[in-house]
């Protein structure tokens, strides 16, 4: 996966008025976060994507209550193509696909967000400790990460799923399983960041002033890591959506009675030629979610990297 560039934590405010001057300087001081926000807002694609994603979240949360069919309702229309009554058609047992897609979207997004939250939290702490203390601790911790990375993640996920899910495939368990592997990449990035940050002068200065390790980590180093953390979190969300879909497709992810977009596709893929709506609609929604998140992540990455990426003559 592409690595995240380290943003420069030292943003210089332009034009400080010196002593003995009585002229107005026309440049405003800006804090780093507002600078980042401004740059992000300049990325139209990222902003639009963020809007679309939030719209999807809202729809998935409230759509089911607003739509007059529920995902479990069985109607009399079996395998009906998209129409005014059922905008996404129905399946062979008479479920309205739109209702199912709404429910599935909710679960899929929920799982993805949970995975991102869990793995970001754990991965950040792990990476921070490893990078900050360096030496033997770091070597040991990173060896462990490397070890876990030698085994194809899908295999581990499947094995864990068999172990934990035990027939039921509820969202929380699946989220835990996915998070158990996705924290590895964040840990690596944060560790690299902390490894280089701890050499900086302000850390040494803080130490001279008597700051404890904990204070240094939380007050000085973590704020500088916020950028990569956020970007990696978005990458994880996209990864989780697709991973959950893949798992459900293979039968090791979300299972009945829960539903997810992955499950819907897996069920509908055999009918791809005969009843395409069962296959394409859930798929398109997944693509939409992953795409918008990827664009947002890309926009964030650009916004956090102050270097102008322009090619010279």
């Amino acid at each position: 996966m592409p690595d995240v560039t380290t943003p420069s934590p030292d943003m210089v405010a332009a034009g400080q008025p010196g002593p003995g001057t009585d002229r107005e300087f026309t440049v405003r001081r800006r804090s780093q976060s507002s600078l980042v926000l401004r740059r992000f807002l300049q990325h139209r694609l990222a902003v639009v994507s963020l809007g679309v994603f939030l719209l999807l979240v809202v729809l998935s949360l409230f759509g089911e209550t607003l739509w007059h069919y529920k995902s479990t309702d069985i109607t009399d229309d079996l395998s009906v193509a998209p129409s005014a009554k059922h905008p996404m058609g129905t399946d062979s047992t008479g479920h309205d696909l739109l209702a199912q897609v709404l429910a599935g979207t909710r679960i899929s997004i929920l799982v993805a967000l949970m995975v991102a939250a869990l793995s970001t939290a754990f991965g950040t702490v792990f990476g921070a400790i490893s990078g900050f203390y360096g030496g033997r601790t770091d070597a040991l911790m990173m060896r462990f990460v490397d070890l876990l990375l030698t085994i194809p993640s899908l295999a581990i996920l499947i094995t864990l799923s068999t172990l934990l899910a035990n027939g039921g495939g509820d969202p929380v368990t699946i989220a835990l399983i996915l998070a158990s592997l996705s924290w590895l990449s964040i840990a690596r990035v944060i560790r690299g960041l902390f490894l280089s940050l701890r050499e900086k002068e302000y850390v040494e200065a803080a130490r001279c002033l008597g700051a404890t390790d904990r204070r240094i980590i939380f007050r000085h180093l973590l704020p500088n890591a916020v950028g990569p953390i956020i970007v990696n979190a978005t990458i994880t969300v996209a990864f989780a959506i697709l991973a959950e879909t893949g798992l459900s497709y293979l039968g090791f992810g979300i299972k009945f009675p829960s539903t997810s977009l992955g499950l819907l596709i897996s069920v509908g893929q055999s009918a791809a030629s005969t009843r395409p709506w069962l296959f394409y609609f859930p798929g398109l929604v997944i693509i939409l979610i992953a795409l918008t998140i990827n664009f947002v992540g890309d926009g964030l990455r650009d916004a956090l990297d102050p270097q102008q990426r322009r090619v010279r003559a």
Partner: protein, 338 residues
């Protein structure tokens, strides 16, 4: 070692003539005028020292001359090398001149050299860029150059990679590269800034050797007045994108007529001063180039200022001395400083 570049017949003797050069960069916050009208001339064999703080525009000026600025940069004015106009010239034209008629040594030797090729290979490449010679001949010339700049065991070390050299030696290699084709003008952009003081002397010495070997004129850009004093014939002081004083070394150091220069000279700690004497820095910071207020840009920090200084930016006008110019409303009233 004859000069490979033919001088076009001109009426005056200036080798490099910069006239009203200006460089602006469009940024998210607006147009940054990094260079706002620089003019100077360099005669053959002469050493011009360009002095200024960070952000004064001194590096941007030379990058503009070499044509190495990003495409987004807006360049105005004229730069004539032996009569040939460089501003607006095509990449191909510039490529023919770079490394041959005019060369540059950059600040940071660690990042200047390509890490995956050996030193000898990169030097030979510089030679072959402008001369139709065999690889073997180019390599042997590379070894000669390495010996010239004082790299011991030149023949063996030519096969080494940049990371196997120390900072000072790397800079010497870069200098060797710059003089490989006997340039007429050598621009050294802060060549010693990234190095230890002890190594600085070696690098400056190498620059001397380089000049002697090629009879090139040199533009030495630095913020270190001590470095300039020993090497330069003439000095140009830049502030906020414009030259504020030019003259011979003696005129600048002993009879400066511009408060900024005086401030710079006064802020140098001196070994012969009485102990307990405080350092006298110039108060304040350089202005933002984004929105320059009217008047002299140095005015907020100047202890000689008068009301006119805040209204009108002073032009670079002749002051007392043979070739001495200063941009200050109160010039010629300041008297000799030493």
């Amino acid at each position: 070692m004859s000069a490979a570049f033919e001088l076009a017949p001109t009426t005056d003797t200036a080798l490099l003539e910069v006239t009203d050069l200006s460089v602006s960069f469009p940024t998210d916050d607006g147009l940054v005028e990094a260079v706002r009208g620089v003019s100077y001339r360099v005669n053959p064999g002469e050493v011009l020292g360009i002095v200024g703080e960070s952000g004064s525009g001194k590096s941007v000026t030379s990058l503009a001359i070499m044509g190495l600025l990003p495409q987004t940069a807006q360049i105005g004015g004229s730069v004539k090398l032996g009569g040939q106009e460089l501003v607006g010239a095509s990449y191909q034209t510039m490529a023919g001149l770079r490394g041959r008629a005019i060369s540059m040594v950059f600040q940071d030797p660690i990042s200047s050299l390509n890490p995956v090729y050996s030193i000898g290979w990169q030097l030979a490449e510089a030679v072959r860029a402008h001369n139709d010679v065999s690889k073997k001949a180019a390599l042997s010339r590379a070894v000669d150059l390495l010996q010239l700049v004082g790299i011991p065991n030149a023949k063996e070390r030519a096969a080494n990679y940049p990371h196997e050299f120390s900072g000072g030696m790397r800079q010497r290699v870069v200098i060797a590269m710059a003089i490989a084709n006997d340039p007429d003008v050598l621009i050294a952009d802060e060549p010693t800034t990234a190095l230890d003081v002890t190594v600085q002397a070696q690098v400056l010495e190498t620059l001397d050797i380089a000049r002697e070997a090629t009879n090139a004129a040199m533009i030495l850009i630095t913020h270190d007045l001590g470095v300039v004093a020993g090497v330069a014939d003439r000095v140009l002081v830049m502030y906020a994108g414009k030259p504020v004083e030019t003259g011979t070394v003696d005129e600048i150091y002993y009879a400066s007529q511009m408060p900024y220069t005086i401030g710079l000279l006064n802020s140098i700690p001196r070994l012969d001063s009485s102990t307990g004497e405080e350092l006298r820095p110039i108060p304040g910071s350089p202005p933002s180039l984004l929105h320059l207020a009217p008047g002299c840009p140095f005015s907020p920090r100047c202890s000689y200022r008068i009301p006119l200084c805040d209204e009108q930016e002073p032009a670079l006008l002749p002051v007392e001395g043979a070739d001495h110019f200063a941009a200050c409303h109160v010039a010629d009233t300041l008297g000799p400083q030493r």
